[in-house]
């Protein structure tokens, strides 16, 4: 599904990613852990195609295609979803409008018929019910006045609706209490399937109790310094990053 080969990237002229190699196959969930400033969020932004995150060398293949040649919206429509660490507020745009617009934009891109308001409403109500999210959130402007937890839940709701093939979660657990964490994890687990894959960026092992990864990688100073199975996450929790990145 995703092949990252010797990826180097700079932000504002400073090299942040210094040769990442990572292969994610369909059906797999990978977790990336690491200290602050290791380049975790940069990796997610590079994959999603954010402006100002410049790839200096290396390549990324997504479903065999050169991912870096695609615009952010093309990447989204081809099934890459990034759950933001800090979801952005869009005043005046109701969440329902935003979701429907995004949903139909992606369908249109893929040559599928767009859904009308009624169909969409039915669809979104199913999702909010599944995720135990109150419908009134749909009427509120996107992320405006949302608590930290609500913002993250909104991200998970968007992801459930858009049903991406590759889920990128950037510190979705930060700022969540345990109940919200469970809901978020539940959203991801519902999407888990042999056809889908996920890359979960997190600081703490806590989220991985609920979304159990197939592989865990440690990112330090722009490189993956260690890879293993889920037991690596526990090890990190006990020993800290310093010990590992020094190794």
């Amino acid at each position: 599904m995703l092949e990252i080969k010797n990826l180097h990237a700079t932000v504002g002229g400073k090299e942040i990613l210094k040769g990442i190699n990572l292969t994610i196959k369909a059906g797999e969930i990978h977790a990336i852990m690491g200290p602050n400033g290791a380049g975790k969020s940069t990796l997610s932004y590079v994959l999603a195609g954010r402006d100002g995150y410049e790839v200096t060398s290396g390549e990324v293949l997504y479903k065999g295609e050169d991912l870096l040649a695609l615009s952010p919206d093309e990447r989204a429509s081809k099934g890459i979803f990034l759950a933001f660490q800090y979801p952005v507020e869009i005043p005046g745009v109701a969440s329902a409008t935003f979701l429907k617009t995004a949903y139909n934009a992606q369908r249109k891109y893929r040559g599928e018929p767009e859904v009308d308001a009624m169909e969409f409403l039915k669809l979104i109500r199913e999702k909010t019910k599944e995720l135990d999210i109150k419908d009134d959130m749909l009427k509120r402007a996107v992320n405006v006045g949302f608590s930290g937890g609500e913002k993250k839940r909104n991200e998970v709701l968007q992801m459930s609706l858009l049903e991406p093939d590759l889920m990128l979660l950037d510190e979705t657990d930060s700022g969540l209490d345990i109940d919200a964490l469970k809901i978020a994890a539940d959203g991801v687990n519902r999407l888990r399937s042999p056809e889908r894959a996920g890359l979960i960026i997190t600081h703490y092992q806590r989220l991985l109790d609920y979304i159990v990864p197939d592989f865990v990688h440690v990112l330090a100073d722009g490189k993956i310094v260690k890879s293993g199975d889920k037991s690596l996450a526990h090890e990190l929790e006990e020993k800290g990053y310093a010990a590992l990145s020094a190794a």
Partner: protein, 489 residues
């Protein structure tokens, strides 16, 4: 709700830079170029006007000669040569058409190209069962088709070209014309009084709720023809009317002057809702060829509990100079101004309102949303005046500016004059930018860059868009997206 959700699709479906940039070639019957007493007399004679109106025009013309062009607005343009403008042109017709079948098919084609809402196209095409929006079509200064006159007549509503009202209802026209905007008012209004060619007249009798939204489509067509529309709406005691005005113009190289006057008279317990979508040609990326729009719009709330509400979406014109105002004379009368002004590329907009509180317990609300992109300059200029007798008068102003890119400008110039000890005046203003973060967030969900921009800007304008009648809201949302094309990246 559903309509609002369609915005982005609609924006996406419009691909041309300026799809209304076409020119139809209906022959014009034109007065000689330039302005003189003879031209004023020519116009009056063409319109078969009574003596009193000619006299009024001439008074205005003579007064205009003594005036100087105002320069206080934050707009810059080459000096207008008023002798290089045609003041009268009309599509050639042997007789006035008696029904739509007799209307020039080319005209109907023009309306189709303009994307006039289906409902109204049906009305124009004369489809049976088409309803509820009466269109008094103003084409090149002369009204060509008027629909639904009969149904309105049943209610006693008069809705017709103003030249016709001059003939059929002279007592009403004579009583009210110039009563809100006198012929001495300002440079452009005075010019308009001298040379106005057409416009709409609307009279709603006592206690009548107008059974449909009234709408007029303006269109500037013949090259170098200034348009001087004059609109007069009178709402008698306890009546209500919603009036829609929408405009587009063809692409042209020369600047075109437009100086309209709109007068609204609102009696006790009556209400007028006046909505405008203005999409005149703004000029190209370098500002060449756009329309100059110098408009005087004013409403007088003459009786108790009278209410007026101006809603405008201003996306076009090279220069916009426009301040729809409310004179709140009757006790408890209410004035509202909801505005979206978009300036892109080299456009300049200086727009706002005046709320003149004279009566007790009068209240006014101003919500202004200014959007600047490209190298455009967008100025909000608003006056709130509380007179000595305006006890417990209230005003609330919200003035928000949105900037796209770093070469444009937003300016807010509020004037507040208070002579009332018990009045309350509130002014809020914000300036924000469309952030890279917001655009990326939308794109990450699958929206293209331009769709993202349209969505964010429509969100910013939401409070005002909600005030528009349904059929206009759709068009307005489309325009918001179209106007900002090319502003990203």
């Amino acid at each position: 709700m559903a309509i609002r959700q369609e915005t982005v699709e609609q924006v996406a479906s419009v691909s041309d830079k300026y799809k209304y940039g076409f020119i139809s070639d209906i022959e014009a019957d034109t007065a000689p170029i330039g302005l003189s007493e003879d031209i004023v007399r020519f116009i009056s004679a063409k319109k078969e006007e009574p003596e009193w109106l000619l006299e009024w025009r001439l008074k205005a013309y003579r007064h205009w000669l003594t005036m100087v062009e105002p320069e206080w607005a934050n707009v810059h343009y080459p000096k207008i040569d008023f002798q290089d403008i045609y003041y009268y042109s009309a599509p050639k017709q042997k007789e006035k058409p008696k029904s739509l079948d007799e209307v020039d098919p080319e005209l109907l084609e023009v309306y189709k190209k303009l994307g006039i809402p289906l409902k109204e196209q049906e009305v124009l095409a004369g489809v049976e069962g088409a309803h509820n929006v009466a269109v008094d079509a103003v084409f090149d200064s002369v009204s060509v088709a008027t629909t639904f006159r009969e149904r309105l007549e049943k209610e006693g509503v008069i809705f017709c070209p103003i030249s016709e009202a001059v003939r059929n209802h002279p007592e009403l026209v004579q009583k009210y014309i110039g009563s809100v905007v006198p012929y001495t008012d300002n440079y452009y209004a005075t010019l308009n009084s001298a040379v106005f060619t057409d416009g709409s007249f609307c009279y709603i009798p006592k206690g009548v709720r107008c059974p449909m939204e009234l709408s007029t489509y303006f269109r500037i067509n013949a090259a170098q023809t200034g348009q001087f529309e004059r609109t007069l709406i009178i709402a008698e005691e306890g009546s209500y009317v919603s009036y829609l005005e929408g405009c587009t113009a063809p692409m042209r190289d020369e600047n075109q002057l437009h100086a309209a006057v709109v007068e609204l008279v609102i009696m006790k317990d009556a209400e007028i809702k006046y909505s405008t979508v203005q999409n005149w040609y703004p000029g190209d990326e370098n500002g060449v060829g756009g329309i100059y729009n110098f408009v005087t719009k004013r409403a007088a709330c003459r009786g108790e509990n009278a209410k007026v509400s101006w809603t405008q979406v201003e996306t076009g014109s090279a220069i916009t100079w426009k301040y729809p105002s409310c004179i709140l004379q009757g006790d408890n009368s209410v004035g509202e101004f909801y505005s979206i002004a978009i300036a892109n590329n080299m456009q300049q907009a200086d727009t706002g309102t005046k709320m003149i509180h004279l009566g007790k317990n009068t209240s006014s609300t101003i919500i202004s949303k200014g959007i600047s992109a490209g190298k455009a300059q967008n100025t909000y200029r608003g006056l709130v005046r509380m007179g000595r007798k305006a006890e417990n008068a209230r005003n609330h102003t919200v003035c928000d500016s949105l900037l796209i890119g770093d070469k444009c400008g937003a300016h807010t110039v509020p004037y507040i004059e208070n002579q009332s000890r018990t009045a309350t005046i509130e002014h809020e203003a914000t300036t924000s930018k469309v952030s890279e973060e917001q655009l990326f967030y939308c794109q990450q969900r699958g929206l293209s860059e331009e769709e993202s921009m349209a969505l964010i800007v429509n969100g910013f304008c939401k409070e005002v868009l909600q005030k528009l009648p349904m059929e206009f809201a759709v068009e307005a949302q489309k325009l918001v997206g179209i106007s900002l094309e090319g502003s990203v990246g």
